[in-house]
Subunit: 99 residues, 2 copies
DNA sequence: TTCATATTTGCATACTAATGCAAATATAAA
DNA sequence: TTTATATTTGCATTAGTATGCAAATATGAA
């Protein structure tokens, strides 16, 4: 496996390993999208904390964002995330890598 | 997605997000197996630190271990890890979950 | 048993990241 | 412009984890 691949996934995994972030992802899995305040109340996390988590998830390509008035709606980029995970799975099983 | 699934992957991702652990995984990707001392010298990490990282990776199901005399040889469980990642990818894309 | 080597564990320190309050910013309505 | 609401940012504190030395343990050789 290339070091570049390693670094890419190191960051993704760090972002995905926080319980509060996963809790938010889980909620976004059950609805099309949600704004910062909704996620704050449904996950019982301070709104400032939610805001910071959301920007990290967006930066990592896990979430998309859409601004509407003074609200920001986030949605899970499920297809992209699934693709990244499958690519890593393929990489790990490559014969020239792990044998 | 079930909370149980979330917790499972939260732990896996935390384990996979550390740079030293990934460095060790990367090395194990290029050889069949390696013992604690080998990984310590090739990754330039103190042997006690390597030992602790290895036990975390083993506990998470990422590595297997085989004791031979006074040495312990670790190997990457590539197929298992790839399977876990693909299962999560499937879960994320499930229609009743993300829509 | 004593000695040498491999690994693990105890413990104190250092690092990194999460948390939550308050203040700042952004946007729309009055 | 003033007011109200949503979100972000600054900052200090806290929490969790990694690190590395030294000591303890495990195993085999002498």
């Amino acid at each position: 496996m290339k070091k570049k691949t390693i670094d890419k996934f190191s960051h993704l995994f760090k972002v995905l390993s926080d319980p509060n972030r996963l809790s938010m992802i889980r909620h976004l899995c059950g609805c099309r999208e949600a704004n910062v305040g909704e996620l704050s109340s449904c996950c019982s996390i301070d709104v400032s904390v939610v805001s910071r988590h959301l920007s990290k998830l967006k930066e990592a390509g896990v979430l998309g964002a859409r601004k509407e008035g003074k609200e920001v709606f986030y949605d899970l980029k499920a297809a992209d995330l699934a693709k990244m995970l499958r690519e890593l799975a393929d990489e790990i099983e490559k014969a020239d890598c792990c044998r």
